[in-house]
């Protein structure tokens, strides 16, 4: 038997280990994050010794190592211990904090990560970029070869399909983006609307950036600390800054008011808003109160043509969108499974390729030998005919064995069995298979 040379190629021994938001707390995850330089150093060390290919995905929610081991003693636990030792966290972090998955499971997991199906916030947009960065880093240090190159590109394709064929990435999933989504449902062209930003903190900045993405241009900013308002204004590319004690007098000029001032409490009373509404002849006004505690008197919601929404209201939009994304998971799962099947088919073709090549070489050698014996006994025209006949015979004789080899095998064992049987039956050269 040829079992010694029929062991599976390295590709099927793909191992994935890591910590994610599902397996470890933020405290552990943040200490396990790897910078670009650390990632490169770790991959180089792995590929110098124990792995033929490796890739590390490190984000705030996960640190995952994908590796094709060189040596049989390199197991998932071995890789986990390796990671823990490189972070010098042997006391705080244990093997239990890690997930481990192999072959098909590792492929499926990687596709799920790239498609944001494994993310804390389903369908989030950043993860694909982070996976691409991880692949780029691995490629830069030469840690990716046949298997991981193919794996990464298949993952990008799967993520692209998920984005285009499902609604998995649709809808706002942050309060500041939901605020903009709501504004788009009230006004048709944000570029024609006057926007007032009360506050210059992170929430206000984020909302303003989302508004700018949706073409809002006329943005004014007011803040208790004028310097902060001016700094944000310059970052957003606007020069409209109002002093904090003056903005109420100009409130009527604005179609959208976003208030995100923390700890200050109520800034705008219903009567102040009513006065502004009278001045603007009741033109539609959207008030987005993103402050905690709230900045705008909630009774203003009953004023004619005033839309007042606070964080809880916007959270309803976020929740609705998250539910919609969750409902898309079966479709995403189907695309991932199709990707895994495709990858496994490619992997199988790698496994059977040497046997197919040996088979063709063997038959061609026999053809050449038999034709050589007839070379001087027939005319050139007859020789050509015989050569064509031999080619047709070889093609037809090999058609079914090759087709059978290429067809998906239910298990790795049955594929190995098929390869071994064929090699045995046709007495194929073992060294060729090992190449």
């Amino acid at each position: 038997m040829h079992s010694s040379i029929h062991s599976q190629p390295e590709a099927t021994q793909l191992i994935a280990v890591g910590i994610t938001h599902k397996t470890a707390s933020l405290d552990i995850r943040e200490r396990f994050a790897f910078s670009e330089a650390e990632t490169k150093a770790l991959l180089a060390e792995l590929c110098d010794g124990i792995a033929s290919e490796a890739m590390l995905v490190s984000t705030c929610n996960r640190t995952e190592l994908y590796a094709v081991p060189k040596l049989p003693e390199v197991t998932a636990d071995y890789l986990i211990d390796f990671l823990i030792s490189r972070r010098a966290m042997t006391k705080e972090v244990h093997r239990e904090h890690f997930f481990r998955t192999f072959a098909c499971g590792a492929v499926k997991h990687f596709f799920a990560v790239a498609s944001a199906a494994d993310s804390m916030i389903l369908g989030e947009a950043q993860i694909l970029g982070q996976v691409k960065d991880a692949y780029r880093l691995a490629a830069e240090v030469g840690a990716t070869k046949t298997t991981l190159n193919r794996l990464a590109h298949d993952a990008f394709n799967v993520a692209k399909r998920v984005k285009t064929e499902t609604k998995f990435s649709e809808g706002a999933i942050s309060v500041s983006y939901a605020a903009v989504e709501l504004a788009k449902k009230i006004f048709s062209d944000l570029s024609e609307k006057n926007v007032l930003l009360i506050g210059a903190g992170e929430t206000a900045e984020l909302a303003a950036k989302h508004l700018i993405e949706k073409k809002a241009r006329r943005i004014s900013i007011t803040n208790r600390t004028l310097a902060k308002a001016e700094a944000l204004a310059s970052e957003l590319g606007t020069s409209n800054v109002l002093t904090f004690d003056y903005f109420k007098e100009r409130l009527h000029e604005f179609d959208i008011v976003i208030s995100a001032v923390g700890t200050i409490g109520e800034l705008l009373s219903a009567s102040e808003i009513e006065r502004a509404m009278q001045k603007r002849k009741r033109a539609t006004t959207l008030l987005l109160d993103l402050g905690v505690p709230r900045n705008i008197d909630k009774s203003a919601a009953s004023l004619y043509n005033v839309f007042l929404k606070d964080i809880d209201d916007l959270q309803v939009i976020v929740q609705k969108n998250l539910d919609a994304r969750r409902a898309e998971l079966p479709k995403v799962e189907r695309i991932i499974i199709e990707g895994v099947v495709e990858f496994e088919r490619w992997l199988s073709s790698l496994q059977v390729a040497p046997t197919i090549r040996s088979l063709q070489e063997k038959f061609n050698a026999i053809k050449a030998m038999e034709l050589a014996r007839l070379k001087n006994k027939v005319s050139d025209a007859e020789y050509k005919l015989l050569e064509q006949l031999a080619d047709r015979l070889i093609g037809k004789l090999l058609h079914f064995p090759i087709k059978s080899l290429k067809s998906p095998a239910p298990t790795d064992d049955s594929l190995e069995g098929k390869i071994a049987l064929l090699r045995d039956l046709f007495d194929l050269d073992e060294s060729a298979a090992a190449k």
């Binding site: 009230i186 006004f187 043509n305 939009i317």
Partner: protein
């Protein structure tokens, strides 16, 4: 009724049904097939309906305005054409199901009950009367569309105000666009109703129509309300919800004064 007219009287409501179904499937379920066939289905319906109207004119020798059910098929056609114009000019495709449902209702009623009215008055062939009727129909169609858009506005507004963000929130265009489209439709409708009034005023002395005809008074009331609304829009703060409520009320009143009462009368005006 000749054979071709009979076939078209069945084919036209079926075409409306198909087009409305495609717009419905696209709006509620986003089926790919519905998205791709809905506009061709709308064009096909318009062409079939045009042929049907042509056959009616050829058979009767006058436009299909002699009975309520003839008027209904004409209204369905003007609704469809007006909607097609809106869809092509604004690119808003999400409201088709709602407008076409009303047109479908008119067309099915018309096809079901339409019958020969025999030899109609020579008056129906007069160009002033044709102008009066065509203008009135265009005006009422525009008012109907403004009413439908206002109803959609109110439904979307309700979802936003109550934080119940459902399918309408997801699929319909924004409130401001509805407000603009309704306003433009009313302007368009008011213009044609005014033309209808002028043509009617020229025509009345040549007829025996009573000046206390309820439909005439009703239409004058509708016209006056829309006129006052448009003229004093800013002063009355007729925008948002108030405008939507007014346009829906106007549409219902116009619809009742023009169609429902005619079901009990053999003539359009008494």
């Amino acid at each position: 009724m000749d054979a071709s007219l009979y076939i078209f009287s069945i084919a036209v409501p079926l075409a409306y049904l198909g087009a409305t179904g495609a717009y419905c499937a696209d709006f509620f379920w986003k089926f790919e097939w519905a998205t791709s066939i809905k506009r061709p289905a709308l064009f096909l319906t318009a062409i079939l309906h045009l042929v049907y109207l042509h056959l009616l004119i050829a058979q009767n020798g006058y436009p299909p305005i002699a009975s309520v059910f003839q008027l209904m098929t004409t209204i369905a056609f003007t609704l469809l054409v007006t909607y097609l114009f809106i869809e092509l000019s604004t690119g808003v495709i999400e409201t088709g199901f709602f407008v076409l449902s009303v047109a479908l209702l008119f067309q099915i009623t018309s096809s079901w009950f339409i019958e020969d009215v025999g030899e109609a008055s020579e008056n129906l062939k007069h160009p002033i009367l044709s102008l009066h009727v065509v203008s009135a129909l265009l005006g009422y169609s525009a008012i109907a569309i403004a009413g439908i858009y206002s109803l959609l506005y109110l439904m979307l507004l309700k979802q936003i105000q109550t934080n119940r963000y459902g399918l309408l929130f997801e699929r319909l265009p924004n409130l401001e666009l509805f407000e603009k489209m309704s306003y433009n439709a009313v302007l368009f409708g008011f213009f044609f109703l005014t033309v209808a009034f002028i043509a009617g005023a020229i025509w009345i002395p040549k007829t025996t129509i009573s000046l206390v005809d309820f439909k005439l008074i009703g239409t004058i009331v509708v016209w006056a309300i829309y006129g006052i609304g448009l003229l004093f829009r800013e002063r009355l703060a007729l925008q948002g919800k108030r405008m939507a409520v007014m346009l829906i009320s106007g549409f219902l009143f116009a619809f009742l004064s023009m169609t429902a009462l005619n079901l009990f009368s053999s003539r359009f005006h008494s």
